[in-house]
Symmetry: C2
Subunit: 331 residues, 2 copies
C-alpha cells in the first residue's frame, strides 16, 4: 500500500458472535479488512484480558505499520458484558448523539478506542426497546443514501430484527422483533425441527412455494394466532402436504410474515407519507423480506448490505478523529 491511499482509521464492528475490523482511508473507503469469531461471547480468555488480546491480535499489525491511527468500535463491545459499558442513549438520536455519549477505553497497545453507545426507545405508553450496533448501521445507511434519510423506515433483518423510524438522520423510534432467534430455537430445539432434514439445500420451487404459503398464512392471522400457526410446520410434514426440505421455508415465511404484518401496521403513520422502506442486512435474508413484502403489496426503496463500516466512519468523523486534510488524499 506504499503509494496507495493513506490509512486514516481503524473501525471495529464487534458483535456477540464475531469481530470485523476495517482499515479505512480518510474518505471512508475500506483499504483492508479482517475478521474472526471472537465476538464478546466467544473470547479466548474471559473478561478484560480477552478483549485486549483479541484487539492486539486483529489490529496489532496495522498499528505497527501506521502508528497512532484512531480506533472506533461499535456493537456489543459497548454492552454491560463488553470491554467497557457505553450506556444506551435515548431517542431521538443521531450520529452526533452517539459521539456525545461515547466511552473511551485504553488498549495495551497505547491506543485509545472510542466505543459507540447503543440506543434506547422508552416511550411512556409502551415497554422499552434497545439496540446496539444497528444505530451504527443506520448512520452508514443515512450517509450512503442521504435522500432516504429524510424520512425512512429502516428494517434490519437478523436474529433480532429492528424496525426503525428515521427522520432527518435521527432515530425517532424503533421496535425489535425476535424473528431470527425464534426461527433458530424452533428449528433446533422444538418438535418442529424433527421433520426437517439436516442439510441446507433449500432452493427448490417447493421451498419457495412453502415460504410464500407461510407468508400468506401470516397475512390472514388474527391476534395471538402464531403459537397455533407454527404447529402446521409439523402437521404439513406429517401429512406429507409439504416435502420435508420445505418445512423450514414454511416456518420462515410464517415468522417473517407475522413480523411484516405487525411492523407495517405499527409504522403505518410513517409509511403512509412518502417515506421509504429501506432494508439493511445480509443479502439472502433481505431477499426473503423483499419477496414477503411483495405478497403484502409493499416494495422497498432499497436493499443495502453491511453499512457498518461506513457508519463507523461517520461516527469517527463526527468525533473529530478524521483530519479534514486526509480527505483530500482520497482519489
Amino acid at each position: 500500500m506504499e503509494n496507495g491511499p493513506t490509512p486514516a482509521l481503524i473501525a471495529l464492528d464487534w458483535g456477540t458472535s464475531s469481530l470485523r475490523a476495517y482499515l479505512m482511508d480518510g474518505s471512508g473507503r475500506v483499504l483492508d479488512r479482517r475478521s474472526n469469531a471472537h465476538g464478546i461471547q466467544n473470547l479466548p480468555i474471559p473478561g478484560l484480558p480477552g478483549f485486549e488480546q483479541v484487539f492486539a491480535s486483529i489490529c496489532g499489525e496495522w498499528l505497527t505499520l501506521y502508528p497512532g491511527l484512531p480506533v472506533v468500535a461499535g456493537g456489543m463491545v459497548g454492552s454491560a458484558q463488553g470491554w467497557v459499558e457505553a450506556p444506551y442513549v435515548p431517542c431521538p438520536a443521531d450520529t452526533s448523539t452517539l459521539v456525545s455519549r461515547a466511552v473511551a477505553v485504553d488498549s495495551p497497545l497505547g491506543i485509545r478506542l472510542l466505543i459507540a453507545p447503543g440506543v434506547i426507545f422508552d416511550p411512556p405508553d409502551a415497554n422499552p426497546d434497545v439496540m446496539r450496533g444497528e444505530e451504527i448501521q443506520i448512520s452508514g445507511a443515512c450517509a450512503d443514501h442521504p435522500a432516504l434519510s429524510q424520512r425512512t423506515c429502516v428494517v434490519l433483518p437478523g436474529t433480532h430484527c429492528k424496525w426503525v423510524q428515521v427522520s432527518e438522520g435521527r432515530i425517532v423510534r424503533f421496535a425489535t422483533y425476535m424473528t431470527g432467534e425464534l426461527f433458530a430455537v424452533l428449528s433446533k430445539h422444538s418438535i418442529l425441527g424433527r421433520l426437517m432434514p439436516a442439510d441446507e439445500s433449500s432452493d427448490s420451487q417447493a421451498c419457495e412455494a412453502a415460504f410464500l404459503d407461510g407468508v400468506n398464512a401470516a397475512r390472514k392471522s388474527l391476534p395471538g394466532d402464531l403459537a397455533h400457526q407454527i404447529f402446521a410446520t409439523r402437521t404439513l410434514g406429517l401429512t406429507r402436504r409439504l416435502p420435508a426440505e420445505a418445512l423450514k421455508d414454511y416456518l420462515s415465511g410464517l415468522l417473517i410474515g407475522h413480523e411484516l404484518v405487525s411492523g407495517l401496521a405499527h409504522m403505518r403513520d410513517t409509511l403512509s407519507s412518502d417515506a421509504a422502506l429501506l432494508l439493511v442486512g445480509e443479502d439472502a435474508l433481505c431477499g426473503r423480506y423483499v419477496r414477503a413484502l411483495e405478497v403484502l403489496g409493499v416494495r422497498p426503496a432499497a436493499k443495502l448490505e453491511n453499512t457498518a463500516p461506513r457508519g463507523l466512519f461517520q461516527f469517527a468523523v463526527a468525533a473529530g478523529l478524521i483530519p479534514l486534510a486526509s480527505k483530500a488524499t482520497a482519489p
Copy 2:
C-alpha cells in the same frame, strides 16, 4: 387386595416422556398405579424390544396376580414412533370411533394390548391439526361430567395445548397451540432466559403482577406482535422495571394471553352459545389459565386434573373389554 374390589383392567397412559399404568376395577376406580420415565422417546433399549421390556416390567406383577386382565393403552405409544402405529381418525370422533380404529399388539406376556388411535382435524380451508392422548382425556372428562359434554370447549394446557370443540361427547374440531414448548425453548435456549434466575421460586406478588402484565400486553396485541412483545422480557429486565425472578412470569402471561386471545376468538361461535369452557390438565398450570381467563372476562365451568385413567376405562368399556358382571362388584 384379597377381599377388595376385583381388578378388571390395566390401562396405560404412554406418552413421549413418561408411562403411567393403572390397575382399575370394573367401575373405573383406580386400585393401584405405577409410573416411570420410560416414555416412547426414553426407552431403555430402542424399538420393539424396548416397548416389550418396559411393559413387562411395569405390568408383569399385576398380570401374574390377575392373569388375563385386558390391557388398553393411549397416547404416543400409538404414533409412528410408538409400539405399533394406530393411524389418526378424522373428526368428528368419539370414544366409539377410537375403538373402531384401535390397533392390537401382542405382548411377550401372552397378553394382547388394544391401542387407541389419535385424532386428525383436516378441514378443507385450513391446515390439518393432530392430537394423540388428549382424545382419551376428553373421553374421561365427558364421562365424569356428562352435563358438560353436551356442548363444550375443552382446553388442555401443556407443551402443546389443545382447544377442542366437543359436542355430545364428540370431538368436532380442534386447534393446537405450542404455548408450553414456546415457553420452554425461549426460557432455555434464547436470549430471554439469560436474565432469568435458575431456581424456580415464583410465588411472590411481583411474579403474579408480572404474569398479569403479560396477559394484558397480549390482550392489546395486534396481529403479528408476538415476536416483538416477547423482547420486552429482556428489556424489562435490563431496565430493572421487573425483578429478575418475575421475568419468566411475564413471558408466561404473554404467551398464555396470546393463546387465549386467539383461542377465544376462534371458538367464539361455540362459546357465544351456552357452551362451557372446561380446563383439563396439571393443576398449577390450569390455575394460570384461570387467572389469565379472568383478565379476559371468561370464567371456566370446571378445572379437571388427569382424566386419562377414566378415559382409558371408557375406551375399554366401548371396546367390550369390561364384562358387565364385574360392574356389579363395585361398591
